[in-house]
Amino acid sequence: MSKTIVENLSKFFSKLGFVYVESESTDGKLIFLGNGEKALVSILNEQNLCERNALLNAVLEAYSYTGKIHKAYLAIPKILATILDGEILRRRGLGLLVYTDKEVKEVIPARRFAIEEKISSSEINELKERILNLEETVRKLSRQIDMLTEELLSLRRSARVPVEAPKITQVGIEAEPKLPSFIKDNPWVAVLSKRGKE
């Protein structure tokens, strides 16, 4: 890969706010980052294009990166620009850059693609846990609603039944003692007090 080509492409992209990321680049495929986007440039030279189907392969390979990068370009020497039908690239959203020793020109702009976000297994586990917590919360709320509904129905039923005045027995019973906590607010007291009256 010619150093000049890499430099020229870097200059071109830096004007657009992109930075060359050498660590992610390979021979013939350059990565640029900028403006929250990732761009790939697949470079062909005159030698590449001597191989049969080289151009077709380059187009297909650049297209295969869509989904992994935001923009994909093909960069070819200016002298070979006329042999390429740009419409195919345009339809697929691929950009075309034409280069010389001195400059790089964007002939067809690249369309912006959405990147498929990879979710890690720890993120999936976190999501699963949150779903479980939500389900548990829903169950608890459902329980509370059922309890409240029962209490409400119970209160409505008791409201219909005439309340007897408490009988005072002949023997002197002192004021009603404090009842255990499990009797308080127990819906069964209302249910059981109607035994034989239903």
Binding site: R139, S142, P180, I183, N186, P187, L192, S193
Partner: protein, 421 residues
């Protein structure tokens, strides 16, 4: 008599398999507890003569003072409710029940002139045959003549549990030493939907004993109290038995089962066989896994289908299938409400779930949910009862306080007050 009288003199009687819980409403939140057993002393013995009593059966906290040699214990020391149901012809067991009830009521009989007897509410297994109800009423009729009882009633233990937990529509699983009862409740027990299982804590004890023998602790495997303690301390309930065994075999140190018997130098260590701790919990919930076949082939008794009185007890039914069977005997409109509240009651559901083994070992509520989910019921809300020791007694107290005295006993309904005039 009025609610005011019953607010002082309602008396609960929970005849549990190991303990008898008793006491009046005025005790508050906790009953008195004494072992549900009686001792028939040798009247020719010196100890009997020294104690200066004329009783033919001893009950209560003073019982240990009368115990003589160990040889005579099996015949003389009687646990009447060991299996939840007393045989009709077991005269000694019925004597113990009578004497325990008398002991309990006398303990709380007030000296007040206005006292005319307690309103007693006894609670027994939901699968008790009719003669048990008849005999318990006869005992209370006798005690009424001694001024201890005004009226008596008997309720099934699952109903008492539901009452204590303030839930009017639910399924209660009551699992004790000898058996397990699955009882749908909807303001009343749905009696024709009760499912009885001939499997309880004692079966898990037997499996634990076999595991101890396999691990070289054959001499300790014969001591029932010790075996029960080992079960309680090392037994675990697996979310999935096959996966739990695999994990335990792969991480032997993490899953190692060790238990030091308090007050001794003896330490149980299952070592490489620690994976067997998951068999103990699984067996309680579901004994149908093929791994248990090897134990049955070696002579461990397989839980059998038996008929006691009018009730069929299934031996090998897993708890998930038991709940579904019981619920599907109820009206269709009621079924979703029953699945929504499932109460697990009894010592057989008190399983540990160490946090470091979470996900592999689970608690009883989670296991029950998994069993139900495997049968297409994924919205069940399962709760292990709080204070299982006191639930039944508390339910008895609420029942006695709330049910009006003009609701008289009916052998059709199996509810109501029985008065002894």
């Amino acid at each position: 008599m009025s609610t005011a009288y019953r607010s002082l003199y309602t008396f609960g009687e929970d005849y549990g398999t190991i303990d008898f819980k008793y006491g009046p409403i005025t005790l508050g939140d906790f009953p008195e507890i004494v072992e549900n057993r009686g001792y028939f002393p040798d009247k020719s013995s010196i100890i009997y003569k020294i104690m200066g009593t004329e009783k033919d059966v001893i009950v209560g906290k003073e019982l240990p003072l009368y115990l003589e040699t160990r040889e005579g214990l099996p015949e003389r020391l009687i646990y009447p409710m060991r299996n939840g149901v007393i045989s009709k012809s077991d005269i000694k067991a019925w004597r113990v029940v009578e004497e325990l009830t008398r002991y309990a009521l006398r303990k709380f009989k007030p000296p007040k002139k206005e006292f005319q007897g307690f309103y007693t509410v006894a609670s027994i297994s939901s699968v008790s045959p009719r003669y048990m109800y008849e005999n318990i009423f006869k005992i209370h009729e006798k005690l009424a003549k001694e001024g201890l009882v005004k009226a008596a009633t008997i309720i099934p233990q699952p109903l008492a549990v539901a009452i204590a937990h303030k839930i009017t529509t639910c399924v209660v699983l009551e699992s004790g030493h000898g058996n397990t009862q699955v009882c749908p409740i909807s303001h009343y027990p749905v009696r024709n939907a009760i499912v009885a299982i001939n499997r309880g804590g004692s079966d898990a004890n037997m499996l634990t004993a076999e595991i101890l023998k396999d691990c070289g602790y054959g001499d300790l495997a014969h001591e029932e109290t010790l075996v029960r303690r080992v079960k309680e301390n090392i037994g675990l309930v697996p979310a999935d038995l096959d996966k739990a065994i695999k994990r335990a075999k792969e991480n032997k140190e993490k899953f190692r089962a060790k238990y030091k018997i308090p007050g001794t130098r003896i330490e149980i260590d299952l070592a490489d066989n620690s994976w067997t701790r998951f068999l103990i919990g699984e067996y309680v919930f579901n004994p149908t896994h093929e791994i248990f076949q090897s134990y049955f082939k070696r002579g461990m008794p397989k839980p059998k289908d038996v008929k006691i009185g009018d009730v069929f007890f299934m031996g090998m039914l897993d708890f998930g299938e038991a709940v579904v069977t019981a619920v599907e005997k109820c009206p269709i409109e009621l079924q979703p409400f029953l699945y929504k509240k499932i109460l697990l009651s009894g010592g057989n559901f008190a399983w540990d779930c160490p946090s470091k083994l979470a996900g592999v070992a689970v608690d009883s509520a989670t296991k029950m949910k998994l069993l139900l989910k495997s049968r297409g019921i994924d919205y069940a809300d399962v709760i292990v009862t709080e204070s299982p020791q006191y639930s039944v007694w508390r339910g008895c107290i609420v029942y006695g306080y709330a049910v009006p005295e003009d609701y008289r006993w009916s052998w059709d309904r199996m509810e109501g007050w029985m008065f002894f005039e």
